[in-house]
């Protein structure tokens, strides 16, 4: 099940904890992967550890021309693009009273606008081939909200609405568009939290532990597979029971 041999995938934000795990999981299932992100060195390291069937195309998700170039180069490197995983995202946390326009705009620009542009850029090939899988990594806070993250939560909620709309537009062409919404996941980002902060977070998680990047990647593999052809416009929540929606 969930065999991805012969399939090609582009993963943005692949230099991060969750993005790296997604790229590895897709690759393990047999897919050829293109790794994208802003940190070229980290991408090259991941490519070296994956070996064959791996390409790197660094890109800035707040730059429209760069996004078009990314789509073109990924398709050229792999010959086609079957699976797009929109994982790239940034945070600029601040309480709303203090949030600057730049903090708001930057997060919307990268997390939402950049994702839309990249998805639009790869749709044409997917439509022609009557096959496509778009999986966007959103967040539990896009559904529940989170104090200090008005910008991030808005962008992540936006991804869900965007995906549902694209799912309706593209369903008849064999293209599914879904989201995966992680809860609190152990990554270099959460390693920086104090024990007390972690305790506070875990009090809200029935599973009583942080999730792992591999547990997010497994959800992405499922949604990217042939087997998930009848699943579209959905959000798969992977959060240890933190929010049940």
């Amino acid at each position: 099940m969930f065999d991805l041999n012969g399939k090609t995938a582009l993963v943005t934000g692949a230099s991060g904890g969750i993005g790296g795990a997604i790229a590895r999981a897709l690759h393990r299932q047999g897919a050829t992967v293109t790794l994208s992100g802003t940190r070229a060195e980290a991408l090259e390291q991941l490519k070296a550890s994956l070996g064959e069937r791996t390409h790197v195309v660094a890109a800035q998700m707040d730059d429209a021309a760069d996004i078009d170039r990314l789509a073109k180069e990924a398709e050229a490197a792999m010959g086609k693009l079957d699976i797009l995983v929109n994982n790239a995202g940034i945070t600029r946390d601040n309480i709303s009273m203090r949030m600057k326009d730049e903090e708001w705009e930057k997060v919307l620009q990268v997390n939402l606008t950049g994702t839309f542009r990249l998805t639009r850029a790869v749709m044409r090939g997917m439509m022609k081939r009557r096959f496509g899988r778009v999986v966007s990594i959103t967040s539990v806070v896009g559904v529940t909200g989170n104090a200090g993250q008005a910008n991030y939560a808005a962008a992540k909620a936006g991804l869900i609405g965007m995906s549902k709309s694209l799912a309706q537009e593209l369903a008849s062409r064999g293209i599914t568009v879904n989201c995966v919404a992680p809860g609190f996941i152990a990554t270099p980002m959460t390693d920086g939290l104090t024990d007390e902060q972690k305790k506070g977070i875990l009090a809200r998680v029935p599973a009583d532990r942080l999730g792992t990047p591999d547990e997010i990647a497994a959800g992405v593999v499922y949604l990217a597979s042939e087997e998930a052809a009848y699943v579209t416009g959905q959000t798969l929540h992977i959060n240890g029971g933190m929010a049940m929606i």
Binding site: R124, M127, K128, E169
Partner: protein, 79 residues
């Protein structure tokens, strides 16, 4: 000229699964030939490929009939 018209009509027949007799120059893709909005995007993509041209979005929006497509391609095609 007539060659372009024939090729355009052939693409429309294949793509929309309609009878060749229905594909008249004044036939509207959406109202007369049963295309949805995504079909019209795909038709434009197919024309671009067949005639090796680029049809910009603002021009594509104006191509509503078979005749519109033939007209645009006739004045823009290289071969």
């Amino acid at each position: 000229m007539s060659d372009i018209a024939e090729r355009v009509k052939k693409i429309v027949v294949e793509h929309l699964g309609v009878e060749a007799a229905q594909v008249k120059e004044d036939a509207k893709f959406i109202d007369d030939l049963g295309a949805d909005s995504l079909d019209t995007v795909e038709l434009v993509m197919a024309f671009e490929e067949e005639f090796a041209i680029e049809i910009p979005d603002d021009a594509a929006e104006k191509i509503q009939t078979v005749g519109d497509a033939i007209g645009f391609i006739t004045s823009n095609a290289k071969s």
